[in-house]
Symmetry: C2
Subunit: 362 residues, 2 copies
């Protein structure tokens, strides 16, 4: 039996040296995805367009959105935008890292970098304090640490989360934001990633297209939770900004909540007004990606259903692929409301009393 | 050391003999919930109203909805309803049992019982074939087994599920339904139960009120999935009925899907028309709980946004607590559409060509 095997190892990891080595074996339509995302990137949906506008790459060759001087020229000056509320980029997902200590540290680093690299460049830039919602006690300290900076105008966090934002786990965040006179904003795109749950009540969509279509459902769930859990009763000065979710889904939610409140308000005795009244007072929406009905006037009907001309603020989502051009996106909206959306509602929320000096000079 | 313990058992289960024994120790406002739901009923939301109308208990003392003779008198005759599409009750949740063999057996038993106990009582009753969506191959056989019965007019399954209904796992169900000329209906209320995922992308609502408010988001996710995965391309005669979800959330979803389709249709090359066109052709909605905007005409605007007068069918949800009275619920809707909703759209979908003889006699 001298030929008998001596050792058999049943787990040896062989590696593909470069993703491109698989291309000869792979049908053509998957090549770009493999090259950009790699073969194993669980939980990340691949956009065939990329996430960034290809024309937004700065002159210095950096990634889109990374150069405050180029961004001012390419976006603010081009469209006559006076103020830009900076919302960060993929870094928002740090709240969904399993390790809260890492998330806390990265948020503080980002906020210091933001002050140095952006807020000092132009008074047109206003910052959002990035927080790690997985550690609300530390997030509250970060809000207190940065909240005194005159150009920090809100708190921002990922909308993907393992729990709904009305729950008391998150209340230290709202307490700190209210104490510092800052709204709390959420931004989509992390649904279904990291320690967040599946991005729908019935598991995972397949394509980026399908996933992106359904993102606003998480906004509905969070706003419902915030109202039902009494966050706006406990923190009556708090404003909550639902960024980049559009707006046409909110009338339905308000109607359903109000109807159910009539039968079930025993369960939420802290609510002394209709749920829609808390929403109108405390929730703000940004426009992009604004819905584009085939009959353009339907968007005005939706805005009437919202019932609050103060609720909606313009946003472009620059430099992302589905950017809304301020000269075009709001065209169907009736004129007096358009002005509120373009300027006045954000001035009121962020305490912007005049246009910045440099913007006037342009 | 004769007093030293000899054995310590660190897990001995003591029982509360009756739930009421805890009442002296429990604040008054929780008593009804404890008595009705027990102290440990994970995943079940407690409605302070109960789920059933208290006046719907039959003369024989059974549970509401359990007596076909009483239901005919108490509901059909009272409102002049010609046909009732029977949708079952809590039994829908059997799809979310971890054991598919149990689910399959209970569905078959229910369907045989339905024929014997209800469909033989009156031609006004039309049945829905209950299936276990956790075992689509067996569900398809059940559809074939029952599909020939002339009074079975659709297939029904729980909307709570671990996966989205567009995914190919479920296609045997649609193939069988199409083969038998039957629409597939889903019914809400099992979101977050059994083997389904959390009922929102960010975990669990707290109260029944909050959970109930957010149920339609799962309908949005399923309809999005059905269209994106090409179910209506693969099964072009299939109709899909979203029961008991209302309707005001659908225009937003159609607009968002159509807008994204323009940029991302590379990912769904099987779709040759706008997503909203598949929705208008293949999706049907039932009214209850119909949204009740404070400005009643807003519901007509929403129906116009849907863009299909054939899409919506009346439903009462009898005998549940949030029942819609057909004489009242549709009052704000413009008259010519109201008639379609009350009668014509269901006649077309379910092949009901005339009123049943007994209904004419009433």
């Amino acid at each position: 039996m001298s030929n008998a095997p001596r050792i058999i190892d049943t787990d040896v990891h062989n590696a593909v040296p470069h993703n491109k080595d698989l291309l000869p074996y792979l049908a053509r339509e998957w090549h770009e995805q493999l090259l950009s995302a790699g073969p194993g990137a669980p939980g990340v949906y691949y956009s065939p367009l990329g996430v960034m506008r290809k024309d937004a790459r700065p002159d210095n060759g950096g990634i889109p959105g990374s150069d405050p001087h180029f961004l001012k020229k390419h976006h603010l000056d081009r469209y006559g935008i006076d103020y830009a509320i900076l919302t960060g980029s993929g870094i928002l997902g740090v709240s969904l890292n399993p390790d809260p200590d890492y998330g806390n540290a990265v948020c503080s680093a980002y906020n210091d970098w933001l002050v140095e690299t952006w807020l000092k460049v132009s008074p047109q830039y206003k910052g959002s304090i990035l927080i790690n919602h997985s550690d609300p006690q530390v997030a509250a300290k970060e809000i207190d640490r940065m909240g005194g900076h005159p150009d920090m105008v809100q708190v921002i966090m990922a909308s993907g989360s393992p729990m709904l934002f009305g729950q008391r786990f998150y209340h230290p965040i709202y307490e700190a934001a209210e104490r510092n006179g800052l709204p709390v904003a959420i931004h989509p795109g992390t649904e279904g990633r990291g320690i967040a749950g599946a991005p729908t009540p019935s598991g995972y969509p397949t394509k980026y297209f399908e996933w992106h279509n359904i993102l606003p459902t998480n906004y509905m769930a969070h706003i419902n939770s915030l109202v039902c859990e009494g966050v706006f009763v406990k923190f009556p000065k708090l404003k909550f900004v639902a960024i980049e979710g559009g707006l046409a889904w909110l009338p339905h939610l308000m109607w359903r909540m109000d109807k159910n409140y009539k039968g079930l308000r025993d369960q939420v005795p802290w609510l002394t007004r209709l749920p829609s009244e808390y929403i109108r007072e405390h929730i703000r929406l940004t426009t992009q990606p604004i819905e584009e009905p085939s009959q353009p006037d339907h968007i005005n009907q939706i805005l009437d259903m919202l019932g609050g001309d103060h609720m909606v603020m313009f946003s472009s989502d620059y430099p992302h692929w589905d950017f809304d051009n301020p000269k075009m996106a709001l065209q169907p909206i009736r004129k007096e409301l358009r002005q509120k959306i373009l300027v006045e509602n954000a001035m009121a929320l962020y305490n912007l009393t005049t246009a910045p000096i440099t913007a006037k000079e342009v």
